[in-house]
């Protein structure tokens, strides 16, 4: 005859087993990446920066410098990249596609050599409207960047709406990035909502998308 007390360890085991299997299932292949850290910058204004253009740009590649003020007025992507970063190279065609579709993309060139950055853009094409060079890495820290590439969606008011760690995969273009860009393009509705004490709405929305 089993006493109820003997069932307690079994019950604890069962609960933990269920918890762990749910978690394992979530992080399984194609699941969520647990090394990704949620951004602390969501719904905050983009940090202040004033970054110079890439040095010794050839005549064929005239890309102006980048400051915070440039980000205002239109929804845009800000992509932090470097020529030495392999995922940046893999991601590049996706950025080219986005640029072809009329998305404004700004670049922050992180700790790169100008000649390498120029070679990268000459070989693979230039999707960037403007590029600022972050040679000290300080601006990237202000954005909360910890891996490369990272891509931010900045709305017309210059607020960060979404942060993507690592490369944007081709399949994420339609399923993730374009819908988010559309969502970020509705500042009026969102701002009104935010004003009406519903700041949480857009936050949870972004968090959900980040987890998918």
């Amino acid at each position: 005859m089993l006493r109820p007390l003997t069932l307690i360890p079994v019950a604890i085991f069962a609960v933990l087993a269920v918890l762990f299997s749910v978690y394992l299932w979530q992080v399984g292949p194609g699941g969520k990446d647990i090394s990704q850290i949620p951004s602390a910058m969501i719904n905050k204004p983009a940090p202040q920066f004033n970054l110079p253009a890439i040095k010794n740009l050839p005549e064929t590649l005239k890309i102006p410098s980048l400051t915070t003020a440039d980000l205002k007025g239109k929804v845009s992507l800000v992509n932090v990249w470097a020529s030495w970063c392999p995922p940046c190279r893999i991601e590049h065609p996706v950025l080219m596609t986005l640029a072809d579709r009329g998305v404004t993309i700004y670049g922050i060139n992180y700790k790169d050599r100008p000649e390498d950055a120029v070679r990268f853009l000459t070989q693979l094409g230039n999707p960037f409207k403007q590029i600022g060079v972050d040679s000290s890495g300080r601006t990237s820290i202000d954005w909360g960047v910890y891996g490369y590439p990272e891509t931010f969606i900045v709305d017309a008011a210059g607020r960060i709406r979404y942060r993507h760690v690592g490369q944007i995969h081709p399949h994420q273009l339609e399923s993730l990035i374009l819908p988010l860009l559309k969502q970020a393009a509705q500042p009026a509705a969102d701002a009104a909502k935010a004003g009406a004490s519903k700041t949480g709405t857009s936050k949870t929305g972004a968090a959900k998308v980040g987890n998918s």
């Binding site: 850290i37 602390a40 820290i141 954005w143």
Partner: protein
């Protein structure tokens, strides 16, 4: 009594282990610093504060090392940033907050006590209490069992025991 001593030793073990293990472990990491000489501040007091702050901040690339331990580029940049903030006259809290504003609470190796971390902080205490209750119950039951009155052998049983004791071993 023996039981409580055993429990006490078990509880004390994690407190003692970190103190003795670096000395006895053959796999202890070398004493080499991630900190480069050019990062070190001239003012020893400021440098000491920077070291203490760096030990509390997570390297976001390695994620299980502090920026004081990590050789990652970002860790180095953050170490220099911490020193720049301190040199600029920030307090320790201001310096830490500066980095938390950018990277969130995850950058703190010691998670803050807030609503979202309640389970994290409360669960060890709860589990400890459950354990204490369990051990107490088990101990009390055992004492009751031991203290149960001794029933003397019946004459029949006594005779069987005597017969068994009188038996000679096989060899």
């Amino acid at each position: 009594m023996k039981l409580f001593l055993f429990v006490a030793v078990l509880l004390a073990a994690p407190l003692v282990a970190p103190v003795i293990s670096p000395a006895i472990s053959p796999f202890a990491p070398p004493a080499a610093l991630a900190l480069q000489p050019d990062e070190i501040l001239k003012d020893p007091a400021l440098e000491a504060r920077a070291r203490e702050i760096s030990k509390e901040l997570r390297c976001l690339v390695c994620q299980n090392q502090s920026i004081d331990d990590s050789d990652a580029t970002l860790a180095r940049d953050l170490r220099i940033l911490v020193r720049d903030r301190l040199t600029a006259g920030d307090t320790d809290t201001e310096t830490v907050n500066f980095i938390v504003e950018r990277y969130g609470d995850f950058v703190l190796l010691r998670p803050p006590f807030k609503n979202s971390t309640l389970i994290l902080w409360i669960s060890p205490v709860v589990i400890f209490l459950i354990g204490i209750i369990g051990v107490t119950l088990w101990h009390r039951r055992r004492r009751v069992a031991v203290a149960a009155p001794v029933v003397p052998l019946t004459a029949d049983e006594r005779a069987r025991v005597d017969a068994l004791l009188a038996e000679k071993p096989e060899q």
